[in-house]
Structure formats: structure tokens, C-alpha cells
Symmetry: C2
Subunit: 225 residues, 2 copies
Amino acid sequence: MSDDPFNLIASALSQRDPVVIKSERTRQAILEAALTFLWSRPFRVMTVRQLMAMTEVSRPAFYQYFQDLQQLMEALLGMLATEILAACEPWITNTGDPVVLVRESLTGLVSVCHRRGPFVKAIADAATTDERLERAWLAFVQQFDDTVDKRIRMDQELKLTAEFDPRPAAHSLNMLNAYTFISKFGRHPRSDPEPVRQALIRIWVSTLYGSRWAESECSQLERIR
Amino acid sequence: MSDDPFNLIASALSQRDPVVIKSERTRQAILEAALTFLWSRPFRVMTVRQLMAMTEVSRPAFYQYFQDLQQLMEALLGMLATEILAACEPWITNTGDPVVLVRESLTGLVSVCHRRGPFVKAIADAATTDERLERAWLAFVQQFDDTVDKRIRMDQELKLTAEFDPRPAAHSLNMLNAYTFISKFGRHPRSDPEPVRQALIRIWVSTLYGSRWAESECSQLERIR
DNA sequence: TTTACTAACTGACACTATGTCAGTATAATC
DNA sequence: GATTATACTGACATAGTGTCAGTTAGTAAA
């Protein structure tokens, strides 16, 4: 295994489900086992038995910490969400040339999702098997929709972006990202992230700021100068 | 149930799995039961027992026609594939103003995928639960990748489209469509197709032919005139 | 050091779904 | 009417899930 998937766990301590936690040590061991498992095998073949065989404790112990495998996946989603949202920061919060910012955010996002690819796929796969987790995944995606929608409205007011209904475009662009990452980075061997990054930048920039600015690495402001 | 999901079956007679078919009548009854079931309930709650309870025959009879639920879903994919590919015809094969053609194709695609939304979602959901079906779904998507890739190359040679690596862009744009449809039309109540159509047209046209042509319904040639 | 208490864990059970197979019933053919 | 083939079924073996009564390990008071 590469890409140090375990440092995910440290950042997950904040995000916790409302079940009574017995031993933090064991909980972590289960999460680590899940990450180890899902790095190389798909969610569909993960069973509670196999998972717990990777730990020191028995199968029933699993149910002390999680209702089922889907709730465990929800915990993993919580970990990833933090990491992924952080990568998008620039375009979301910063001001300045939006083409430069969207480039930065997409570059960060591609990097994170390449690094965590198999986990992202595992979570999305698991989401189709359980209503509760599907809702959590949907809420995660919707968070992005809201953010992108807001940013598009802002850019439209500044006349940086053409007038169009931002909501469905935002949602579609987010689906574009999510499932491009899942299909390109979710299975081994993962695709080279660079062509993916370029394709996404092209599509986002063309759609939001016009194709003139999508051609090269240089920004709108630089071109105007 | 609306949108007459059953006329799908007629077109599926060509596409058949290499299992020995006993009675075409029973096979059709099972497929119809699956369509009825999946129109209103997700794939994850469909069991062989429940499915066969909707027919006149017993549960073991199911295994005379399909290896498992995933193979049944593969048959449904075959049906949908025909319908969906037909909708994309204009932009794929016709010549003429590509903006008009891409509009036509996307309009057709949105219409079909809205009509079959729950089935599209059911197939994509099922694909995550089985390696064989996942491969079939991937092959289906790849068919589109090849087609779009080819068309982009053609337009690049004609200088209608900017120079960029077509393959990853084609793949991403297809993911955009597929998972926009699944999330917007896959669950009841389905979204209004019109805003989705407009968003997709905007993104595809902006990316491929520049944002100037994405603004209104009128085409590139009309504008030049 | 023994005793009492509690948190963490486990063996065994009931349940559900799957896929298979030997065998039955029905229809077709001679 | 006997023979064969086809379509179907009851019953079984297996595998996974979630639960619960009960055991073990750890801690604190007497």
C-alpha cells in the first residue's frame, strides 16, 4: 500500500457517530483495517467477518462500534470530506482572478482524489447499498453544489461569467468531478492524474469563464495585460 | 407507473445472454417484473424471492433464465443501451453545424434518460455490486468515450474545436451526463428535464465549441451569417 | 489480597438470502 | 399409450447478518 492512507484517521476524531464508544483503540483498529482492505479490494467483497479477521477482536465486537458496514463507510466519508473540502478552499473563499483560483482548486482536488481514489470509489459504491449512506453521500455532494452555485452567482454579478441558471450547472460540474475521479482513480492501476486535471480545468473554465482562458496555463489577468 | 417502461422488452430480443432459454414467455415475465419493481424501488431491496413473487412461477425458476440478479440487470442494460445510443445519433453520424447536432443529441439523450431514469440508476447501482456487471457498464460508457473522442478529433481537424487531448475530456463529459441523469432522474420525484438539458448543452458546447455559442438556442452558422 | 463492579468482548443462535439439485408434472412425439 | 424432453419446484446446503446472554479483563474500594 502507498499514499499513507492511515493519516486519514487522525483527522477523523472530530467526526464521530452518536453510538457509545467503548475503546478508541479498537475503533481505530477497525477503521485502519477497513482502509487497508479497501485500498486494494472493492467494497462489495468486504464482510464484517473478513474485516474483523484483520483485527485482534471478534466479529461481534464490530457491532459495538458501528451499526453496519455502511455506517463505517459513513465515518470514512467524514474523514475524506474534510480533506477534500480543504483542497477546494482557494476558489471557494479567495478573491482574485477566478480562472487562477479554479485552476488551483481543481489541481488540489485532483491530487487528493488521486491519493484517496480507491476510498472515494468504495464510499460511492457503498452509498448505493444503503439508504442512510446514500443520503449522507448526497448531502456531501450537495455541499459542493451550494458552494459552486454561490460562487457562480458572485461571478455573474461581477460580469465574469455569463448569465445562466447556476444550480443545475453547479450540480453537473460536481458530478463530473466526482465520477471522473471514481472511474479514473478508483481502481488499480490508477490513471495518470495530469491528463485528468487538464480535462477538468478545460471543462470548468470553458463553461464558467469562456474557452479563451482554458487554452493554456496562463490566466485571464495575464492575458489582459 | 408511467412512461410505458414495458416497450423496452420488445427491443431486447436481439440482445440475449448465452444461457439456454427455456420459455421466452417466462423470461419476459421476469423482465417485466423487474421493470415494475425497479420503477419505484431501488435495486438494493430487490431480491429473487420478491421478484419471482410478482410472477406466476417459483423462485428457483429464476435461475433457469439468469445466473443472478446482476445478469438480469445486464439484460436491462442491453435494452437501454440500444435506446440511448439511438438518441445520440445526430451528433455522432450526421454532418453539418456541430453545435446544432450536439444540441439535438443532448436533447434526445435527456429525454430518454428522463423517461428511463429509475432504470438507469438501478443499473448503475447494481454495477457496483458485481464485477461482471461493472465491466459491462464500463464497456457501455467506453462506447460513448470512443464515439465522442472520434467526433472531437474530427472537429479539431476541421478547426471547429480547439486543440486538446480529446480522450480524457470525452470520458469526463460522458460521466457528466450519466451521473447527472442518475442523480436527477433516478429517484422519484424526478427533476424537471429542461434545466438539466440546458446545463448540459451549456457545458458541452462551451467546452467543445467555445462559450460564444452556448448562450442561446441559435447555432454557430446562424450567428456567422 | 480479596471483593465488587464495570467496560469490553465473545460463542452461539435465529434469521434471511443465495444458488443448487434431485425429482415431478406437463406437453410433445412416435 | 409409451417415451422423451421441457419447464418447473420442494427442499437443502451455505454464507452473511445482527443480537444476546454470558464470560473475561481491568479497576477501585475494603
